[in-house]
């Protein structure tokens, strides 16, 4: 891997995150304003203190004007970025690198998505004009491809497999029940998850993340400047982003039990951060649980579980809030829904709260090293983002 990384050179000094949900009374503008002003207040800065902005949104607007207009940003650079479901994380990566380069001293990464105005169920993506041959599968169907392949490879029968997937959803909702900013703040019984109406067999509606609106923002400075603004900043240890060659749909060697892009970005991130044993060294992780089989496979791709054993770790509670490696302590996409541009920054917001001891009922015991992960696309053809952050330098 060629990336050198910027370990401990950048710190997050303030964050904001709206409640995620069906904001019938708020547009993307409102959500951006709320997240930005919460972040300004959190960092104790004024809007004019920010030198540059990176705005992540997949479909809630184009160009920097989407942000500069509602915030009345005074003639500053605003870069709109898009990288599918990793859009929010991508905005953070760009802001961090810009500040690390010395081009700016203080930058904001902000992401938003307003999904509930479309009138459609699920995500809707518009494609460029095409020849009518690309498969038009819905996201749950694309990710459901993982389930039969994983079950078959590791000898899980349909019932056992369904139990494993359901427990992932159960765990994330259990965490989300403790989070006042989540879209769904209720525990859901296992039986209700298992018996939820089928969307893409074996996935039921309760195996899918929700559809919601939301925005989140982070303000970053160079690490040496962090204490000018805040007593307990969090530090960027690694930022890795990978776009894959999309071999999965073309090559029979791909077996639909892994995301090679995630494996590559995790390897890169761990090298940047100096992580050699993620299962032991990572205190908590926010991962892209768009659908339950995604989280299952991610546990192996991120090195949290050896190949073929994540299902067992799931069943044994290894990733529970009180487990050895809590995954999605904030409730994940499952409880928050997935406003595309915002999700990556919402994950970082949980790192921010947990490391500062501000996570309320779901507070973990002094987590030191956290990981966030997004992916966008489909199994075998996706982009993947992995970050590692820490409460301390070094």
């Amino acid at each position: 891997m060629a990336s050198k990384g910027i370990k401990d050179r950048i710190a997050i000094i303030g964050m904001g995150c709206t409640k995620f949900g069906e904001h019938w009374d708020k547009g993307a503008d409102d959500l951006l304003v709320e997240a930005a002003y919460e972040a300004y207040a959190s960092a104790g800065v004024q809007p004019d203190d920010i030198d540059a902005y990176w705005l992540g949104t997949m479909g809630s607007g184009v160009s920097g004007l989407t942000l500069s207009e509602p915030l009345k940003i005074n003639y500053k650079p605003v870069t709109r970025v898009e990288n599918m479901c990793a859009t929010g994380s991508e905005s953070l990566r760009q802001a961090c690198y810009a500040v690390a380069s010395g081009a700016y001293d203080i930058a904001m990464a902000i992401g938003v998505e307003k999904l509930k105005d479309s009138g459609f169920s699920g995500l809707v993506m518009t494609n460029p004009p095409n020849d009518g041959t690309p498969a038009s599968m819905t996201p749950p169907a694309l990710f459901s491809l993982l389930a039969p392949a994983y079950f078959k490879k590791y000898g899980l029968d349909a019932d056992k497999g369904k139990d494993v997937l359901s427990r992932i959803a159960w765990k994330n909702h259990r965490n989300g029940a403790k989070n006042p900013k989540a879209q769904f703040q209720k525990e859901v019984p296992m039986e209700a998850i298992k018996n939820s109406p089928k969307i893409a067999d074996p996935l039921g509606i309760m195996d899918c993340s929700g559809v919601s609106d939301g925005a989140a923002a982070a303000i970053v400075v160079r690490a040496e400047d962090a204490h000018k603004y805040c007593k307990n900043p969090i530090y960027i240890k690694a930022l890795s982003f990978v776009a894959g060659p999309a071999e999965g749909p073309l090559s029979p060697e791909y077996d639909f039990t892994s995301f090679p892009e995630v494996v590559a970005s995790a390897r890169d991130a761990y090298a940047q951060a100096g992580i050699t044993n993620p299962r032991e060294q990572i205190s908590m992780a926010e991962v892209h649980d768009c659908f339950t089989p995604t989280e299952l496979v991610l546990m192996e791709d991120l090195g949290f579980s050896p190949r073929g054993t994540a299902w067992n770790d799931v069943m044994e509670g290894f990733f529970d809030l009180d487990g050895k490696l809590p995954v999605n302590p904030d409730g994940g996409l499952k409880s928050f829904g997935h406003p595309i541009g915002a999700s990556g920054l919402r994950m970082m917001y949980e790192m921010w709260l947990q490391m500062r001891g501000e996570a309320g009922k779901r507070q973990l015991n002094h987590p030191k090293v956290g990981l966030t992960h997004n992916l966008g696309g489909q199994p075998g053809r996706c982009v993947s983002f992995v970050s590692v952050v820490g409460s301390q330098v070094g």
Binding site: P129, D131, T133, M137, P148, D201, S251
Partner: protein, 469 residues
Amino acid sequence: MAGIVSYGSYIPYRRLKRAAIAAVLGVPATRGERSVASFDEDSVSMAVAALRDALKATRSPDVRSLVFATTTAPYAEKLNAALVGAAALLPAEIRASDSTGSIRAGLSAMLQAADAVAATGGQAAVAISDSRLGAPEGKAEQSNGDGAAAFVFGNENVIAEIVASASLTREYLDSWRAPGERFAHSWEERFALTQAYSPLFKKIIHDVLEKAKVAPGDLAKIVLDAPNQRAADEMLRELKLDPAKVADSLSLMVGQTGAAHAALMLTAVLPGAKAGDHILVATVGDGADAMVLKVTPAGAAFKPVHSVGRMVESKGDVTYGNYLKWREILPTEPPRRPDPERPAAPPMMRSEKWKFGLIGSRCTACGTPQLPPQRVCVKCRAFDKMEPYAFADRTGRVATYAIDRLAFSLNPPTVNVVVDYEGGGRFLCEMTDCEPDKVAIGDEVEMTFRRLFTADGVHNYFWKARPKR
């Protein structure tokens, strides 16, 4: 002597039990079932299946023309034969036309093709296909069927010579359908039977046998394609035909397949024919056409890629409710998903071989087949070292699958499969003609040309997988 060089036929997988119609509508049921083009099939897609089979079985291919015959063309303006030709991978250098107007269009097209090769040499292809609608509660809804047959005519390697042909054209009002109408009207049955079918069949059979110098008793098989079974039964009696020699009308298991029917009946008869057999084929429709064929030794040995008998056996039921939805006779609540977007003309033109012919690529540096066609090899990353590689006739195995209950479809749930092809290559596509609950990793599949959807009047054709028939 000019004649048939090769043939193929196609009967869709889905069947509608006539009793199932009767049970819903409370009308009298007739026996048996009718074939039903699936929600993703039409006369073009079925013609492609039959024609590809015919071309596959053609020795020394030299096709110079293509006629697509049907009464249910997907496009009223735009050459349907061009679509059929593209999907059958016929060369651009052919004459092509659509032939329509009556259920006689199929046999007429065959006779014209035979004349063309006799006059100018080479081979002529004919693809005949119909997806016949009947208004609910009507007889035609039960008695019609969907299917296709295709022939290649030529002067060499002939399997059945055309000994003689005859045609009659008469103006009378039997059945008709104006542009924009979905269901045909018909005049009273007795009128057509006594004033049209009976005299026309009598005369055309007399004429063609006289031209062929074949006595009725010397015929081995008689393919008598009447517009309905009652007319067929009546003709048998009136013409005093030997029931043992009369070809099965396929009415019990398939139904009357419109323009395709005489051709389909013929393809059902040919595999059992012996060298030297004379076969009479006759049909009516605003006149009549007939021909007498003589089976050659090559014909006796010819094996179709898919026999009619095998396709009659290979079937799965459709409920009457689904049938009504597929034909959009019964409007349904659209899903809360965006409508599919029409495919765009320039990308379709760029990818003609891929979209219509399922031609992918194979890396000449490392030998890896891949689809869609690539510029940079997925395996060895060689740049622009690809050669065309055909996938349509390859079977494969299901590597994994998804059952999509959210996607827009006239037949939810949409089944998607990852296919790993025999000989290499992988493709993620829809699977059709399957029972979603039964799909499993390792299933053997083959490829089939289908109409994925229609948007803004543009029919979007492409390939799907289906369980091997």
